[in-house]
């Protein structure tokens, strides 16, 4: 197997990692870079647990050949906030009870972040569209939808 060096900006930091051309981005993140916050629920783009943001767009990292990340900007759940400076979405998910088992949460938050980075005041329909590829089996999505809408409001008010 021919390996190659993948260079990209991961959570704001220049990153180099050895990959095989057939590697998918999710496996590089989880197995080679040990960023296990990005979850793998199906490996086929059917659940959204592996959602990351690549060049501003939410994508299923299990469907993205790692090589496509070359030169790109990738954000994962580990990069959007830290315990002392959480992203408003993280706070809102916690405060709204939008987290149950937590397996879908990183993907949900990344999908939501891609949305509210672009839309300061997303409609209900836009929130639903943004999260349509993120399966949650615990919450019935009620509190997740509210968490996204609240976080957007929070960000607007603090600008």
């Amino acid at each position: 197997m021919s390996n190659t060096i993948l260079s990209f900006t991961l959570n704001g930091e220049f990153t180099e990692v050895q990959v095989s051309p057939s590697d998918m981005l999710v496996d590089v993140l989880r197995d080679k870079l040990h960023l296990t916050g990005t979850k793998k629920g199906c490996g086929k783009g059917e659940c959204g647990a592996c959602t990351v943001i690549m060049n501003g767009e939410a994508v299923n990292s299990c469907m993205v050949p790692a090589m496509k990340a070359e030169g790109s900007k990738v954000e994962t759940i580990e990069g959007i906030g830290s315990p002392d400076k959480l992203h408003p979405l993280q706070v809102s998910f916690m405060d709204n009870g939008a987290i149950q088992c937590g397996f879908c949460t990183p993907g949900m938050i990344m999908s939501a972040k891609a949305l509210i980075d672009k839309k300061a005041e997303p409609s209900k329909e836009e929130i639903q569209e943004a999260l349509s590829g993120n399966i949650c089996r615990c919450t019935g999505y009620v509190k997740i939808e509210k968490a996204v809408s609240d976080a957007a409001k929070q960000i607007r008010e603090n600008l």
């Binding site: 051309p21 057939s22 783009g45 059917e46 939410a58 994508v59 469907m63 496509k68 999908s111 349509s132």
Partner: protein, 291 residues
């Protein structure tokens, strides 16, 4: 086994890599279908030639009255494009229904056609728009009607992605008094392939249809034009009765399979006219608003 992954900077470079690799290389765009197919052993390649960074291929534009969709344009780009919504609403509607937002951010419209699944939503819309593909092959550039990109086997494209490259798909932008619409029957609102879909483009002349194009799927090995229904409507006065009759006429050219997953042939044949009727009604409304 996949050994290399390349990003050519021009279409010429892409073609020359394909030529050099003599069938071992394959074009990749969004990659959402290809990589899964490769993992499951359905497709093989030693080298992938990623065309999504070739300048210009991510463009949607109108040139000379033709809407052009570049080969790297994603479903989400098409769904959100003001230009597509204005000039080809049915395509935007179709693009919006595919998979999920994440899939739509990766998967390309042209890839949806090249993958040759008969029910591919944007391919159905593009068929109704009478689209043609700009195909580059060694030493030549052709403009092929969409229909010619399919074979008699569902899922098997007439194109050879180991030597050929679709650079864009184009079709006439809608003019005044023209409208389009897309309808889809699905088992849930996201992450579902269609049980049935239909796209319609109408051109009105006063109170009558000037011409109509109807595409429907999955009722054959490719998106199928309901030409008999189209002929019935051409020149006819717009009435609920003629729309109903046309919708029923369309079944004659539909040959859906029995699918344990996505509905029996019988059911699909009975419901198809409902979709076509609804699409015709919407497209007429759209055309009337577009004066």
């Amino acid at each position: 086994m996949l050994l290399d992954y390349l990003f050519p900077e021009t279409t010429e470079q892409a073609l020359s890599i394909l030529k050099e690799k003599q069938g071992q290389a394959r074009v990749i765009a969004g990659g959402t279908d290809l990589l899964l197919d490769m993992k499951e052993g359905k497709k093989e390649a030693a080298v992938l030639v990623d065309i999504t960074r070739i300048p210009g291929l991510k463009e949607i534009k109108v040139d000379n009255g033709m809407v052009q969709i570049g080969a790297a344009v994603t479903h989400n780009q098409a769904a959100k494009s003001e230009l597509v919504r204005e000039k080809a609403l049915a395509l935007a509607q179709a693009a919006r229904t595919v998979g999920s937002l994440q899939i739509r951010n990766s998967a390309t419209v042209v890839g949806n056609v090249v993958n040759a699944q008969p029910a591919a939503d944007t391919a159905v819309a593009l068929t109704a728009f009478d689209a043609v593909a700009e195909v580059l092959s060694p030493g030549k550039k052709e403009y092929l009607p969409l229909e010619e990109l399919y074979t008699d086997r569902a899922g098997k494209s007439a194109l050879d992605s180991a030597s050929q490259l679709v650079t864009r798909i184009q079709f006439p932008a809608l003019l005044k008094n023209q409208g389009s619409a897309f309808e889809r029957l699905e088992q849930r609102k996201a992450l579902a392939l269609p049980m049935l879909n239909a796209a319609v483009v109408v051109s009105l002349s006063g109170e009558s249809f000037e011409w109509v194009r109807i595409a429907m799927a999955p009722v054959g090995t490719k998106p199928v034009r309901a030409t008999e229904a189209e002929a019935l409507l051409a020149g006819a006065k717009v009435t609920p009765e003629i729309i109903e009759e046309a919708a029923k006429t369309a079944i004659a050219q539909a040959n859906p399979r029995n699918s344990l997953l996505r509905g029996s042939r019988e059911y699909r044949l009975e419901v198809l006219p409902v979709l076509i009727r609804r699409a015709l009604e919407s497209a007429v409304r759209e055309a009337r608003n577009n004066f």
